[in-house]
Symmetry: C2
Subunit: 233 residues, 2 copies
């Protein structure tokens, strides 16, 4: 801090940016990482696909996380865990509706194979788009292609660092399901024994005792994430 010249008029002295929340909601569709897109009804970029988002409401939101949760709820009529802040972007040409646009971007995860979220208020049409199709080809409104790319990268880095995408899975899952999910996120295959060894060594999971599951053939042990001890801070 350190600005102190002006008494208490600071908040009204300067015009403030038009501040929004954007959400990169990811899931797996047929084993491919996909993001949720919403079709824009109005200008700018009318008719184009874009990330769902909404204006920051300082009268409603107690924090940025709450704002993101509210946007998801209003737009998609769902509650989603695993919200994670990705980045903030801003500039004078970001949004034609205002002289200076600022967006705080969040990433969220949705259970793989879940149905399309209900279109909430002010949503025209929703659609899952594989991130691959966005990387090369389909162009989104604003800089949303870049944001999706950043979200995808962040997601992969997380998985590589054993910050597993539990949000894509039900609370209880088999190791094979977990592995397939990670493979889908990363975009390449993983070795079974190495994968399991890593999980074991790091105590990331704990078995859900007694329970098993299997449509056919040998049933698999179910696991759940172990409460991660981030310990001190």
């Amino acid at each position: 801090m350190a600005d102190a010249a002006s008494p208490k008029t600071d908040s009204s002295k300067y015009p403030m940016p038009f501040t929004r929340i954007e959400v990169v909601l990811m899931t797996l569709v047929d084993g491919n990482l996909a993001v949720l897109l919403a079709r824009r009804a109005q200008a700018p970029y009318a008719g184009k696909w874009a990330l769902p988002g909404g204006v920051l409401r300082i009268d409603l939101d107690g924090s940025l996380e709450e704002a993101a949760a509210r946007v998801v709820r209003e737009r998609l009529a769902t509650d989603l865990p695993d919200l994670k802040q990705l980045c903030a972007v801003g500039g004078p040409t970001r949004d034609p509706r205002a002289p200076w646009g600022l967006s705080i971007v969040y990433r969220a995860l949705s259970l793989s194979g879940s149905t399309l979220p209900t279109a909430g208020k002010r949503i025209e049409e929703l659609r899952w788009a594989p991130v691959e199709s966005l990387a090369k080809g389909i162009s989104l409104a604003f800089d949303h292609n870049t944001l999706v790319a950043r979200a995808t990268d962040a997601m992969r880095e997380d998985v590589e660092e054993h910050d597993l995408p539990y949000g894509l899975l039900p609370a209880h899952f088999t190791l094979t399901e977990l592995q397939q999910t990670c493979e889908a996120v990363l975009g390449h295959a993983l070795d079974k024994s190495s994968f399991r060894r890593r999980l074991n060594d790091r105590d990331l999971l704990e078995p859900v005792d007694g329970e098993k599951r299997g449509g056919a053939f040998r049933p698999a042990q179910l696991y759940q994430r172990r409460a991660r001890l981030r310990s001190l801070r």
Copy 2:
């Protein structure tokens, strides 16, 4: 996106947050990672130490990065490279001067052992504080203790991922200097041969040919960072 109900009055329809930039400027002081603090002259938190920062000026700043660069320039009378966005934090109780405060936090690096930056406009007093002393003990204004902790963590993660803190070093440096810098950031010793092998394997550096340097005893080869090929995106 997807809000479209209102024509073009969006930017004036909702009150916007009081948006600031905060800077966690880090350097090494006597081999310890330290952050720059500025003493607050006015309320809130008058007399307390806090991170330097400033209001986002939508009339001056072409982007958040530019805003951070401007804040550093104005407050500290220096230009600094290696600006990196850390996170955004916001909420109604963040800043008593406004109903809702939003801060975009940047991390910057300053050459180790450099003198205290000149106090720029509206700065009372500056001081380097070892991050260790902040982790347990000294309490800063706002949530700045948390921000420093996050910056420190991010810094350590970067170094572990071989994203080396070049900003703390001059353009040309010896491998020993680099290693000592990394050790100071991480807070523990590193093995010399492993460290060098890693650097070599990853082609992170290139020797500055001919040049060497040494106050006494055997001179060491100087190196500089090799332009990192982030290639496609």
